[in-house]
Amino acid sequence: MRVVFERPRTLIKKPFTYCPGCHHGLAQRLIAEVIDELDIGAVTIGVGPIGCSVYIYEFLNVDFVVGGHGRAQAVATGIKRALPDRVVFSYQGDGDIGAIGTAEAIHVANRGELITSFFINNAVFGMTGGQMAPTTLLGQKTKTSPLGRDAKVHGFPLRLAEMLKVAEGSAYIARVALTQPHLIKQARECIKKAFLAQIEKKGFSLVEILSPCPTNWGMTPEDAVKWLEEKMIPYFQLGEIKVKEGDFNGAS
């Protein structure tokens, strides 16, 4: 019999502990599938953040290091500089990479640090219970913007991926969502390209993954998917934001 569907080897056999309708599990499964496909599980080191994303270290069967909130890319830099032939990735939420870790994000991109970052954007702080994130949409109500995000008070939702595009050292940047089968397929391709940009030493790579947080959005999983498609995607447009061809000219 031909096997058409199976659990990725890199995904540890245990049920995800994320809320119903959360896409963390899906995102992590895709990363695991790509690690299998590229056959890099033995040489891959993951770096976790603080926030809901941190649980990735319980589900992916690769070596993991977890440091402080917002510091995953600095930790990843230390690892990659020590072990340049390993594949090093960070997996971070919007608070981690887009608020407290912005300095790290800009500078790993600018140095062309040969790491890959996965950025789960769900427009709220998930683990702490739904406070405003840098990516919270205008008008979106959160625990710390109870009347809705107001640009005059809170500023605008941060498009981090576009910001990192202008850094000379970034080689591959894409934004994806996992709400439709064809989008999931595209996301898998982008994850693969991001890892390849690192393996082929082209520079820093990042995949932003739009993800629902039904728990903190106060929605059913179905409504959350709809909201993501109708509200988030128009502001955070999907697609490949930067694909750098040619020789690498960043950190080695």
Partner: protein, 358 residues
């Protein structure tokens, strides 16, 4: 062995390389920047990595990542930068990752100034960051000790899987003295079987800086405390100097310890009989040994380049059995031999009745 004339910062940096340090992450701040400058050239020569980080916060977290792979790694800074590194130090302590952190202390608080001070004593020895943790703190008092203690720092970091701080100051950092680089001779160290390198064919490993289950976190904290007790038993170090008939015990660390040696010598000429007790490890602090000396001598004068920090540990040590006097200068002012002698004269003439703070 050949003596070389070197600046404190550069001697320390060279000692780090000789002790096997192959990675350095830092951010410029006076008065320790020559450590970075030296290593930016020297580390690549030995196949190592020098990286100037975007912030002190990033630097210490790069240290965290590098240490997790088993590399000998160092960062250095001065007061304000060390404050930024506390988050990372706390994480390194719970994750039990070795590293060496140099603090060439400058005047504080705030940005203070760039002159020598000892006002980061509390920060270094009482944890500094959040949570119940300790780091070993070594207090050198000469350029030669910067070299020797750097060797020792890397050894102790690996022995205990713990950060070690070298607490210098702007004076030691900037002064030039002849130094000898002995071959570092480390006793056997435990194997680093915990390092992260990619799982290869084996079982995967992970290093985290938390334990979400309260019972587990308590167990982890108790384990750390057992390690700190072991450090107290095995690593406590100090220097004692002076005659048996001393009437006043001078206590000071680092640069002040050195000044106090002159005070002992000069005092002797005019019949002021002082002894010196210089703590070399500030954590673990030599409480028991200091108490013995204090009991023997009878009166204690603590001198610091701050307004009274180590003196609290001295008072804890002597447990009230003898009076403890204090003389402190701050803001980059360095206590002079004559002013300390004058204080000693007053104490011995019973002119200072209170255990004065300044």
């Amino acid at each position: 062995m050949e003596k070389i004339l070197m600046k404190g910062n550069e001697a320390l940096a060279e000692a780090a390389v000789r002790a096997g340090c192959r990675m350095y992450f830092g951010y410029p701040i006076t008065p320790q920047t020559e450590i970075s400058e030296y290593l930016s050239l020297r580390l690549p020569q030995v196949g190592g990595v020098f990286l100037q980080a975007e912030t002190e916060v990033a630097a210490i977290n790069m240290v965290y990542g590098a240490s997790a792979t088993g590399m000998r790694v160092m960062t250095s800074s001065s007061g304000p930068g060390i404050s930024l590194k506390q988050e990372g130090l706390s994480a390194l302590a719970i994750a039990e990752l070795p590293c060496v952190v140099v603090n060439m202390v400058r005047g504080g608080p705030g940005v203070g100034n760039i002159q020598p001070a000892q006002s980061d004593y509390f920060q270094a020895v009482k944890g500094g960051g959040h949570g119940d943790y300790k780091v070993i703190v070594l207090a050198p008092s000469s350029v030669q000790e910067l070299v020797d203690f750097t060797y020792r720092a890397f050894y102790l970091a690996d022995k205990y899987c713990n950060p070690v701080i070298i607490l210098g100051d702007g004076m030691l950092a900037q002064m030039m003295e002849p130094v000898i680089f002995a071959e570092p001779d480390f006793p056997p160290l435990p194997p680093k079987d915990w390092i992260i390198q990619g799982k290869g064919r084996g079982e995967r490993k992970f290093i985290v800086c938390f334990a979400l289950d309260p019972q587990k976190l308590e167990e982890l904290n108790l384990k750390l405390q057992r390690k700190y007790r072991l450090m107290e038993e095995q690593e406590t170090d100090f220097e004692v100097l002076g005659e048996d008939d001393a009437e006043l015990l001078l206590v000071g660390f680092g640069t002040v310890g050195r000044i106090l040696k002159t005070v002992v010598r000069e005092g002797k000429k005019e019949g002021i009989k002082c002894a010196l007790f210089r703590p070399i490890t500030l954590f673990p602090f030599p409480y028991g040994q200091l108490k013995e000396e204090a009991r023997r001598v009878g009166r204690v004068l603590v001198v610091e380049m701050n307004l009274g920090q180590m003196v609290e540990d001295v008072r804890l040590a002597v447990e009230g059995i003898v009076p403890v006097f204090f003389h402190g200068r701050t803001g980059g002012m360095i206590p002079k031999v004559e002013e300390i002698l004058e204080k000693a004269r007053q104490i011995l003439r019973n002119e200072v009745y209170h255990e004065s703070r300044f």
